[in-house]
Symmetry: C2
């Protein structure tokens, strides 16, 4: 068991390194030689975990859809917003997530591995559909369309934000995106109660650092 855990840790650590190189030069330009050099492993050791560059890309993409940091909220719409806010906070800190976006926008990699966008759209559609049932959305809001548009918008805002010289942080920019869209999605009573602060992800991911519970 200890052995298996060590293998998983090694695997994850290789993927982090691989992801970093994919981010810097792109999938196509990342050579096996440069991957070997970057990981500091022997070619044989690297191949033991990932026999091909394709296997590494698949390993990166397997980490792309994550609900880490998301917990049940009074409003399903808040959970949907949390999904995008938390990812915006995590992405600049986690090369694996950034590499997964890069693999999706790279035409060569995309033709080989597809993208995880349909999975993200499904997750969003489920949350928005449930929100709709609960009366949290405006009557004309179509969960399927909004889920699809926002996966696209989120991805593009991330790409543009990371290239702009004096760009705001990604969490700030994604928070603004939700603030722009939500008045045309949420019913007025719910809109007033949604938290779209760019500082929300920090609070969600480190709940233990919040004020102590009464009696604690």
């Amino acid at each position: 068991m200890a052995c298996q855990q060590r293998a998983i840790r090694t695997r994850d650590s290789i993927l982090e390194t691989v992801a970093g190189l994919f981010n810097e030069v792109g999938y196509e330009a990342a050579t096996i030689a440069s991957l070997v050099e970057r990981t500091g492993l022997t070619r044989g050791a690297l191949y033991f975990h990932f026999p091909t560059k394709e296997a590494m890309a698949r390993g990166v993409l397997a980490h792309a859809v994550t609900r880490e940091g998301i917990s049940p909220q009074e409003y399903k719409l808040q959970e949907w917003v949390d999904l995008g806010l938390v990812l915006a906070y995590r992405l600049p800190r986690e090369p694996l997530l950034r590499a997964a976006v890069q693999l999706s926008v790279d035409p060569k990699a995309r033709s080989l591995f597809g993208t995880r966008w349909p999975d993200w759209i499904d997750v969003g559609q489920d949350l928005l559909g449930e929100a709709k049932k609960r009366g949290e959305l405006l009557p004309h809001a179509v969960p399927e369309e909004i889920a699809r548009l926002v996966v696209g918008a989120w991805t593009g805002v991330q790409l543009v934000t990371e290239t702009l010289p004096d760009s705001p942080g990604l969490a700030e920019e994604i928070a603004r995106l939700y603030q722009l869209i939500l008045p045309n999605v949420a019913s007025p009573g719910v809109l007033a109660k949604l938290d779209t602060s760019p500082h929300r992800p920090e609070r969600l991911l480190r709940p233990s650092e919040g004020p102590a519970a009464p009696g604690a």
Copy 2:
């Protein structure tokens, strides 16, 4: 003069072909050999127009920011919407425009050539700033932020739309994006008069095919 025009036509036709290959395999994977083969020119003839692959990429990007099809409208906000709608109509029909987006999202190409996103943001900011002066925007709308967010959102919606199996057309999807955002941007009186139909670009680009003018 005839000679010069022929040279420009040849140059544009090479760029179209190059753009097609960039779209299929990405910038990095496009080899000079495959570019020579695809254009059907000799290596010497190709080099006469574009001495390097880098020069070809710069040529593609030079075509990226275009106002073709945009004409002055009663509302500046309508011109801003037209910019995005017309581009959404043109992009699937013009490999050059699609390749310019691909070069911007490709990390290697981007590190070499930058992107045209700042230019698009400037164009949008000018139009939205003028719209704001004329009272077409809601009081809290910040032209700079909206211009930046929508360049990102537009780009991502395009990327995701082209990968989804049963995806709607890009013009339909971009029209939905504006319909989602505009109620939180436009003042109510202007909102009611904006045309965000996905069929608008066709009408803008082919005005001669509209109904005949009275007395014509």
